[in-house]
Structures are given as C-alpha cells and as structure tokens.
C-alpha cells in the first residue's frame, strides 16, 4: 500500500490566520504573526478558557478576512493537546459548522491539512478550515507541574508554544499556494523513555515519513526549496540531519525545524525550542506561508511531528511513540 497521496493541483490555501502569545511575540517571527497577545490569560478565569478563546477568535478572524460566513465553510478539522481535545470542542460550540476533532499530538495540524485536502479533492467539500491551538499554561499543568513550582528544566526540555492558528483550504484553480501531495505517517517507536526528550522520541517518525515520501514520489530532498519538521527542537533536528545523512539524504541548507525557528533559544531560555500543536501551526501559517506568497519559497515539504504520550504512560513504563505526517506545497 502506498502512503503518499496526490491532490492534483485543485486544493489551495485561501488564507491563514495566527494568534501568538506574548513570549512568541518576542521571538524572531514576531513580525509574521497576524496578532500578538499582550498577556496569556486574556481576561479569562483560567488558561483553559483563554485557549478556547484563542481558538475561537482565530476562526472568527479568518472568516472576517475572507468575507465568508459559517454557511460557506463545509467542515472544520481541529485539535489541541488537552484531554478530550477540549479547546477545539468547546471553541466549536460557537460555530454551526460540521466539525471533526483530531489528535496526533503536535502533528495534529498536519493531519487537519491532509483531511481537509482529502475532503476537497474528493468533492465532499468546497472550503475547509484546519485549526489547532496550544497554551503553555494548560499543557504544563496537564503533562508536567504547576506553573509556580520551582522545578529545574532539563536541557532537553522544550517550551510549549502559546498560540492558535488556522488555514482556510479551498478547492479551485485560483490559489497561489497549493497542496500537491501528502504522506500519511505511521506510529514509530524506538523505545525512547525520557519524556523530557521529545526530540529523540519523534526523530525516527520524521525519518520514516521522509524516507517513505522520497521513495514513493521519487523526489530528492533538493526537489524542495525548504523542508520543515514540526518541533524536534535544536538537538532533535541536528540528530535527524545526521541520521538522514547516514541514509544518503543530504539536507544541509534546506532543512529547518519550526520549534527551533519560533524562539530565540538562548535569550528566551526555552531549552531546545518550541513545541506543541500550536508550534508548527504558527510557523506555517505566518512565516512559511508568507515566504511562499512572496515567492521566496516555491516548493516546501512540511512535516510536523508528534510525541504520542500522556501523563500516565511514562509512569507505567511505556516508551514514547512518535508520528509525523508530510504535506508538500507548491506555488503555482
């Protein structure tokens, strides 16, 4: 069975919208975000409520920007990192649009893009919104410790990105950036047990998806102007580059990682970089999309990665499985 599917040039990106938290707004991509928040609680009673609000306003904003109403959107694919993907489910209370919730940890945004593109190419939908969000406060609390606990972070830790973003996919010929192919990833587990070391847990998944993609399409990495992984962080992406070189794929100069791009690692003290469902989403919908719109990047392979653990699985001695999906985008 083939893992790569082709969209034959009739799915394009109509528009994108991103809301970034204050720390992300101090990072190197600040000017690319559509909206930077001044605080991360947004006048709400909890961070969970703030995340729901972020997701809601991302979807509202993209509807405003494109002059579409909820009637014009055929489906929403969304997800986040919280138990029972509450941020997405609760945000969707506001919108009378058919909705499917997804969870692939930090790779959720890519699964949303793939599902949306499949819906449109299959002729089941004309317009689909793909959205994800994550919030430092809610994720820390669910997966790690209370925010005010004086715990030391290991050097391999990554900083969960606060932000929400969405992409409006549309069928038809008149879009500049098109989705051309996608490789659906498998769950890959090489037995990494350190839940602080997400980069190492996800690297084999990214490798697996890449090699599948390059083999099945017959493309070389140099076919693309840029290849991005989701949130392997600095150390993880360095490891991936080395391992890929061993397999015979040279990625020097074309590969970067969204988690490494979103923060100033040294100055902002974020460990190995950003992570979370919002990470690859924010970088894609702001920086990568604008680079493609301005023509600086013509062919991009976007490969968000996810570490599929819960709070209890490492305690029960389970290792951390990873997953990575790939989407190829081209400027037409």
């Amino acid at each position: 069975m083939k893992h790569t599917i082709y969209f034959n040039g009739d799915v394009g990106i109509k528009d994108t919208f991103t809301i970034a938290g204050p720390k992300e707004g101090e990072g190197p991509l600040a000017n690319y975000f559509h909206n930077v928040l001044r605080d991360d609680i947004l006048g709400q009673k909890s961070h969970e409520k703030a995340e729901i609000l972020m997701m809601k306003s991302a979807i509202k904003n993209i509807l405003n920007r494109t002059d579409y109403t909820t009637e014009d959107i055929d489906c929403v694919f969304a997800g986040d990192l919280l138990d029972e993907i509450t941020s997405s489910n609760f945000a969707m209370r506001e919108f009378p649009i058919p909705f499917i919730g997804l969870f692939n940890a930090c790779a959720t945004f890519c699964s949303a893009l793939i599902m949306g593109a499949i819906m449109i190419t299959g002729g089941y939908a004309k317009r689909v919104i793909c959205a994800t969000s994550s919030h430092f406060g809610t994720v820390e609390r669910q997966y790690r410790y209370p925010l005010e606990l004086g715990a030391q972070r290991t050097p391999l830790n990554q900083w969960t990105v606060t932000g929400a973003g969405c992409t409006l996919l549309e069928g038809g010929e008149d879009h500049r950036v098109k989705l051309t192919a996608a490789t659906i990833g498998k769950v890959v587990d090489y037995g990494v047990t350190d839940s602080n070391d997400m980069g190492a847990a996800m690297t084999p998944a990214a490798m697996d998806t890449w090699i599948t993609h390059f083999t099945e399409t017959g493309r070389k990495p140099s076919y693309y102007d840029a290849i991005y992984t989701g949130d392997l962080g600095h150390a993880g992406s360095r490891l991936l580059k080395k391992l890929m070189l061993k397999e015979g794929y040279d990625l020097e100069g074309i590969y970067d990682d969204c988690g490494a791009l979103i923060f100033n690692r040294e100055a902002q003290k974020v460990g190995q970089g950003g992570s979370g469902t919002g990470c690859s989403n924010l970088v894609f919908n702001s920086y990568i999309y604008s680079q493609m719109m301005s023509g600086r990047l013509k062919r991009v392979l976007f490969v968000p990665t996810g570490a599929l653990l819960s709070r209890i699985t490492p305690l029960q001695g389970e290792s951390i499985p990873g997953i990575a999906h790939a989407v190829a985008l081209e400027v037409k």
Binding site: K45, S46, R141, Y145, P146, L147, E148, L149, G150, A151, Q152, R153, T154, P155, L156, Y190, G191, V192, D197, G199, A200, P204, A235, R238, L239, K242, L243
Partner: protein, 146 residues
C-alpha cells in the same frame, strides 16, 4: 536501524545536563536560603531576648514558609527554583513552594475538589515516605532501647 543502536546514538548526540554548573548554583542558592533563615533567627533572638532556642527556630521556620508562600504567589520562586535546582528544593522553602504552587493552580476548580484535592499532589510522596521512615526508625529504636 535497531532500537538499541538508535538509543545509543541518542545517548551520544543529545546534550546533557551541565552537572558542575548546576551543582555550584544549587550550593549557593541553598546556602543563601540558609543564611536568610539564620538571619531571621538572629533578629528574633535580638528582639525577644527571653525566648528559648527551640521556639526561636520554630518561628524562623514559619517565617521561611510565609516568605516562600508570598514569593510563590508573586511568581518569583519558580525563577529561583529554575536557577537553584535542588538548592531551593531541599530546604523547607522548597516544600512550602510545592504545596502553594498546586494550590494556586487548582483554585480555579473550586476550593474542595480543586485546591484541597490537589494541594499535596507534589508534596504527598514526601509526607508518606517521611512518616513511614519515622515509624520504621521508631520501631527499630524501640527494640534497641529494650
């Protein structure tokens, strides 16, 4: 690539904790916290000259706990902790922080099921192990004493 082979590469390639640096940081942070405690004890002794040493020390502990509670509430103690590591975890201040921080965090889910349920989420193991150890030591001493 085999699992084992991959894990070995990970072990070799991924950055490690800088133990010497963090140990020095922990030493000085812990030392500073103890110095502050000693300072408070000395001040109490100066003001209340007739107090017994036991009571002075108990007051000092209470003052340190109060101080940590305030610093945790204002979002300062987590910064001290991320710098000082074990240096700020081992003293009584670390214990106070581990109780105050979940209390703040879970206040939003209500007083009983939020705050009270989760308050000892992190400090719980310390209490359980502490009590168990004291009982065991007590039993041993009981027999040795006989």
């Amino acid at each position: 690539m085999e699992n084992k082979e991959y894990l070995e590469i990970v072990k070799k390639e991924m950055p490690k904790s800088k133990h010497l640096k963090t140990m020095v940081q922990a030493f000085f942070t812990g030392g500073l916290i103890c110095m502050i405690g000693q300072g408070i004890a000395d001040i109490i002794k100066l003001i209340f000259k007739d107090l017994e040493l036991d009571i002075v020390l108990q007051f000092t502990t209470l003052m340190m706990i109060l101080l940590t509670g305030i610093l945790t509430g204002f979002g300062v103690y987590d910064k001290i902790g991320s710098f000082g590591g074990a240096g700020s975890v081992i003293p009584i201040t670390g214990f106070a922080n581990s109780i105050v921080s979940p209390a703040i965090e879970h206040k939003r889910e209500g007083i009983v099921l939020g705050l009270c349920t989760n308050m000892f989420k992190i400090a719980g193991p310390v209490i359980v192990i502490g009590i168990t150890a004291s009982v065991l030591v007590g039993i041993i001493f009981l027999f040795i004493g006989m």
